[in-house]
Amino acid sequence: MSEAKEKPKWRWGFKRWIVLLFIILNVVGVIVFPPIRPQVQVQPEELTSPVNLGPLGDFSLTNTLVAMVLVDLIVIAIAYFTKRSVMKAEKEHYRMPGGIAGALETLFEYLYNMTQSTAGKWAKTIFPYFASITLVVLIANWMELIPGVDSIGLLHHSTTGSPIQQILPGVFGTVKSGSGETYGVVPFVRTLSTDLNFTVGLAIFSVIMTQVIGLRAQGFKYFTKFWNTRALFKKPFFGLIDWLVGILEIISEFSKILSFSFRLFGNLFAGSILLFVVGALIPVLLQSGILLFEFFIGLIQALIFGMLTMIFMSMATQSHEEEE
């Protein structure tokens, strides 16, 4: 053990033992509490009983709403700590901000350069939408990776569930395989992007702001993209084709909402089901690999959502007429 005096080598070996310990704990845990087939539900589960809000309909606290609040708190906390870090750096004679501000600066510089190469002079208008959508979706997607999300929650009666096994009687419990009175788990926090309400809301926001930015850039000429009567009078035959293309553009705006929302929802929902099923069938080690894959998918989907918004917005700022 004379070589063990070298510090990095010793720490690496130490961490290796921790990993081994966790693997052994995993195997023991799987034997003591055998995993069961999880329940899958498309709509978010309700945590409280519904409250009637008159004309707005029934409202109940769902577990994706809890996740939404958590995501918002994380984004606000990031903004607060970044501002504090920058202020501190400015006080100390304009030193380079370190820590979280430095990391965010790298990310935003990359995103801003991407915006500028696509949108040109409209980059300053488009960039806030791009960056904020990317950040919110990124944090919402990565919440899936936190242990306890999607798995810790209230037990409730369910016809398709499994019987209950008490760990601390009355306080803690888990569902197990076998027979008896059946229960299911309603998690406190469920990944935000597996709720269609969130993805559709974000998609509608993105498409409407695209129209607003197009209107700001081109004025009322923007609507000739959808309803081109001027070309109809100018050149009778090809003008008719232009007019029909305008009708198609209207349909494509609505299909954007559909494709935006279903892409994010489908990817993340499929990912979480993959995690559930792999966790139930092969509970040792394999789920770690899937988690790494989900880390990648979450990043890519957040970037795709933001990048497509940015590209559609920059397309809306460019007029079609000038190309002819």
Binding site: V42, M114, F262, G266, I300, I304, M307
Partner: protein, 78 residues
């Protein structure tokens, strides 16, 4: 032999719905093929090509995801 015909039809329907993913697989293959050929011929443009390639993959992948969503809806909602 137990179970009812609706459950069986659900499983068969979900299985049929995901056939469409084959098309998305071909599409992603074509996208990556084109991007890699472009990168091999002009390595300087690879950064720009990579961004557009991932965008193209996302568009092609979206079709697969629609199939998957339909399969999930058949299995878990109806």
């Amino acid at each position: 032999m137990t179970g009812d015909i609706v459950a069986a039809a659900k499983l068969i329907g979900a299985g049929l719905a995901v056939i469409g993913i084959a098309g998305a697989g071909v599409g992603i293959g074509i996208v990556v093929n084109g991007a890699l050929q472009g990168m091999a011929r002009n390595p300087d443009a690879s950064g720009n090509l990579l961004t557009n390639m991932i965008l193209g993959i996302a568009f092609a992948e979206a079709q697969a995801i629609y199939c998957l969503v339909i399969a999930f809806l058949i299995l878990f909602v109806f």
